[in-house]
């Protein structure tokens, strides 16, 4: 079958913030030439956020997206047929931290706190809500401030504008390194996820419209192959390996910080590319808890992920 | 009337909204009747603020009378009076055009091609004594020069009806004379109808077929009309003739009191 030609060798891929470590497998696949190896010409469009890249997919201006798995669930509730084909991140990588000088030592203490999230309604927001619910708090018990995932998030935390924050790397690593915060919950590690979700919780995936998969099975397969290779490469890579591959600009801010952040993030990348049943349920449970629209909808989780391509990619190896 | 009526003002009254919203409207002219036949040169004289410009605006179709009708060549006027050329009392040159272009525009609008229009405009500038000032913008001209550019702008179009509001106001006596003769030349060539507002009674008598005197405002009316029986062409020395003197004295007597009356009325008007 390697002779089969892609139906659509030139395609556009959307991502909401390519330099984010969350999407590292994409950068690896691109920089290591895995797409080219498969005979694909992938143009990467970077968007202001995950939501915007999804909208572009629905609107038809891009073919595939690397984005959060939860989008596939949400879209099912909205009647859009979106399917993910490979898991890139097995843990969300979201970390809940609190300022050292505040009397917040556990999630329970968040009552009445001002919590920073990347954006209202984003997965970082749901992450805190989920944790609070586990400890018997309601979402209304705290207030949430969108602070983004960049330098200003760090700034707001340092200034003390917010008491706690749910965010991703490298923001978290920066704050950790500077010794400003304590960690309340960490979904970057296996043990952390075990504690929070009782298992995995898929994060970044590669998804597309089902039409696309049906019409371009070979292209899809080749895409999955490329990402699978990137995941395999990441399995054994050291932070230094990663730093050598990513564009130089990614390191320009602060190289040590970048290395530390990669080190912290390496465990989150998927090993197998497959989403376990358990992970899907975890993701759905977290969403359903806070979204009445999803609660009302009947979600068929089996439709959100098609593992056949990953299986083939693994077999071919 | 045997001759065709060029401009007919019948029972015209014109009012402006009052200064404040509550105030009653200000009636500038009331019940004015004036017929201007083809080829007639009428001068309008009256105290300042009596409504001369207002009347011209009505004849031009720029102001709608509150009552009464304006007819142009026998037809009731709706909208602008396209047969007329109007030299405004206020400055109305296009500041973004040179003197030459300001004059040429009148022809260009009518479809004359630019080169010809400019050639003719150049001739007209020479006629009003401004040949050397063709490239100046209005703000670079003196008051009298601007007025003359305006004059050329109107005359170059050769309209059948001429409405002129103090066209020679800011000109010296000598230049006035030259411009007056220019105007009379044109007028006599093809029997234009001219409505000519001036403050200079001598000028009115020496140029016009008929002198119309308006009373002091508000609610000004026509208080007298005099035919000028002096034959044409009238040369400069016409002002020394007894007929001239006689008429001047007669009109002056009628006019003199109006201003004083105007002063008294203005205290209570508006």
């Amino acid at each position: 079958q390697p002779a089969a030609k892609a139906e659509k060798p030139k395609l556009t891929l959307g991502v909401g913030g390519k330099p984010l470590l969350y999407y590292l497998p994409l950068t690896i696949a691109e920089r290591k030439g895995f797409f080219k190896d498969e005979g694909l010409d992938v143009a990467i469009n970077d968007f202001g956020g995950g939501a915007k890249s999804l909208q572009a997919l629905i609107g038809g201006s891009i073919d595939v997206v690397t984005g959060a798995y939860e989008h596939t669930i949400r879209m099912q509730a909205k009647g859009q047929d979106i399917v993910s084909v490979i898991e890139l991140g097995r843990f969300p990588g979201i970390v809940l931290v609190a300022r050292k000088d505040r009397p917040i030592k556990s999630v329970k203490d968040l009552k009445g706190a001002k919590i920073g999230v990347t954006a209202p309604g984003s997965s970082t927001n749901f992450f805190v809500n989920f944790l609070m619910a586990k400890d018997g708090l309601k979402p209304d018990d705290a207030s949430y401030v969108g602070v983004g995932g960049g330098a200003s998030a760090v700034a707001q935390m340092k200034r003390g504008e917010i008491d706690a924050m749910s965010n991703l790397d490298p923001v978290i690593t920066k704050l950790e390194d500077d010794g400003d915060v304590i960690i309340l919950a960490d979904s970057r590690t296996e043990s952390g996820n075990e504690k929070i979700f009782g298992g995995e919780n898929p994060a970044a995936v590669l998804y597309m419209k089902r039409d696309f998969v049906e019409q371009n099975p070979v292209t899809t397969q080749k895409l999955v192959n490329a990402f699978y290779k990137a995941l395999q490469w990441l399995k054994t890579a050291t932070p230094e390996d990663v730093a050598a591959v990513v564009p130089e600009e990614y390191l320009l801010g602060d190289k040590t910080l970048y290395l530390n952040a990669v080190k912290n993030s390496l465990p989150i990348y998927s090993r197998t590319g497959l989403i376990p049943e358990r992970g899907m349920k975890n993701a759905l449970n977290m969403l359903v808890e806070f979204d009445p629209e999803l609660k009302a909808a009947k979600i068929d989780l089996a439709k959100t992920f098609d593992g056949s391509f990953v299986a083939k990619a693994a077999a071919a190896k | 009337m045997a001759q065709a009526c060029a401009v007919g003002l019948r029972d015209i009254s014109i009012a402006f909204p009052g200064a404040s919203r509550a105030a009653s409207p200000f009636v500038a002219v009331q019940g004015v009747n004036l017929d201007l036949v083809d080829g007639e040169f009428v001068a309008i004289v009256g105290p300042t603020g009596c409504g001369k410009s207002t009347l011209l605006n009505a004849a031009a179709g720029l102001l709608k009378p509150a009552s009464g009708t304006v007819t142009i060549h026998g037809k009731a006027l709706a909208g602008l009076n396209r047969a007329a050329g109007y030299l405004f009392q206020a400055e109305a040159l296009f500041p973004w055009k040179t003197a030459l272009d300001n004059v040429a525009i009148g022809l260009e609008v009518a479809g004359t091609d630019t080169d010809e229009a400019r050639a003719r405009a150049r001739k007209w500038l020479a006629r009003v004594g401004l040949a050397a000032f063709a490239d100046r913008y209005p703000h670079q001209l003196s008051g009298g020069q601007r007025k003359r550019v305006g004059l050329a702008q109107v005359l170059i179009r050769d309209p059948k009806i001429l409405l002129m509001d103090e066209p020679f106001g800011p000109l010296d006596a000598q230049t006035r004379q030259i411009m007056g003769n220019l105007l009379l030349d044109l007028w006599s060539q093809d029997r234009k109808a001219v409505m000519f507002v001036t403050h200079d009674l001598e000028e009115a008598i020496s140029l016009a077929d008929r002198v119309v005197i308006m009373g002091a405002g508000p609610a000004s009316r026509i208080i007298g009309q005099w035919r000028v029986p002096i034959p044409r062409p009238r040369d400069i020395d016409v002002r020394l003739e007894p007929a001239f003197h006689h008429l001047h004295r007669e009109i002056w007597a009628a006019l003199k009191d109006e201003v004083v009356k105007g002063y008294r009325q203005s205290e209570v008007a508006s």
Binding site: A51, L54, Q55, I58, G59, R74, M75, K78, Q80, K114, A119, P120, G121, S122, N125, S143, Y144, V145, G146, V147, G148, G150, A151, S152, A155, Q156, R159, E161, I162, D291, E293 | H139
Partner: protein, 269 residues
């Protein structure tokens, strides 16, 4: 202009037509094989929601009252941004217009500042001014300021030279010139810019909230976007639009009050 009633009828008519297009575009599938093999919505409700849903949501938000708090914050930010930006634009505009040297020296810097993308500045404002309303106000100010500034600057320079000469011959000091000549003469220009500025003040506030805040309409819109709730997004924009009309009407009222002296605009041909 016929009269107020006809005008109003026409305005409503336009609204009805627009909403009808929106309604049918987002609820009735059309089948144009040339464009798409399958029947599709001309205005995909995924992106445009439907007018009914939007009105219903807006009504509900007002009815339950949740919107008031957010609206209040956004309006406060808008007003502050508008007031500060307009005041700054007017003052600096006057100042530059009267001091040719200062204007010439700072000219390139003003223009550079005007070209900085506000989205990128937002984090810096957040850094300096915190996450409260002030960082949003600052964003709005950076939009309003330049619009007003450029117009006031030009307006002051447009004063008729004769008028200015007369004023100076009457013995006016620089301050009296300001009050009696430049200010009234620049008013038309200023108000023209204020109409644009009202909209931009609101945009600034909303974008600021969108990029980082805990309340306000921008926050709500962002939240709705995050969960792909287009109805919420459009409902937010509807509320915005309504309020900009209200603010603008106020500006127009002040304008008419201050510019009574002007002749009625030149009539139509």
């Amino acid at each position: 202009m016929r009269n107020r009633f006809t005008l109003f009828t026409l305005q409503v008519l336009v609204a009805v037509v627009l909403i009808a297009i929106w309604h049918f575009g987002s609820t009735m599938k059309v089948n144009i094989p040339a464009l798409s093999p399958k029947p599709f919505y001309p205005l995909d409700p995924f992106f445009f929601s439907t007018p009914l849903a939007v009105f219903e949501r807006t009504f509900k938000d007002f009815y339950t009252g949740v919107i008031w708090y957010h609206l209040g914050i956004t309006l406060l930010e808008t007003m502050l941004a508008f007031a500060i930006g307009a005041l700054g634009g007017v003052l600096v505009g006057f100042w530059f217009a009267r001091k040719a040297v200062i204007a010439a020296v700072f000219d390139p810097y003003v223009k550079m500042a005007n070209a900085l993308p506000r989205v990128v500045l937002a984090p810096i404002f957040a850094l300096w001014l915190g996450l409260g309303i002030w960082s949003k106000v600052a964003l709005g100010v950076t939009l309003v300021f330049f619009i007003v500034f450029f117009n006031v600057y030009q307006g002051v320079k447009e004063v008729s030279p004769t008028l200015l000469a007369n004023a100076r011959m009457l013995g006016m000091s620089e301050r009296q010139l300001m009050r009696n000549v430049f200010w009234p003469s620049a008013l038309t220009w200023m108000f023209s810019s204020l109409h644009t500025a009202v909209g931009f003040a609101l945009v600034g506030a909303v974008v600021g909230e969108y990029l980082g805040s805990a309340a306000g309409l921008g926050y709500r819109i962002h939240q709705a976007e995050g969960v792909f709730d287009v109805t919420g997004v459009f409902s937010g924009m509807l509320v915005l639009s309504i309020f900009v009309i209200i603010i603008d009407t106020l500006v127009s009222a002040i304008e008419n009050r201050l510019l009574v002296w002007r002749p009625a605009p030149a009539a139509q041909a």
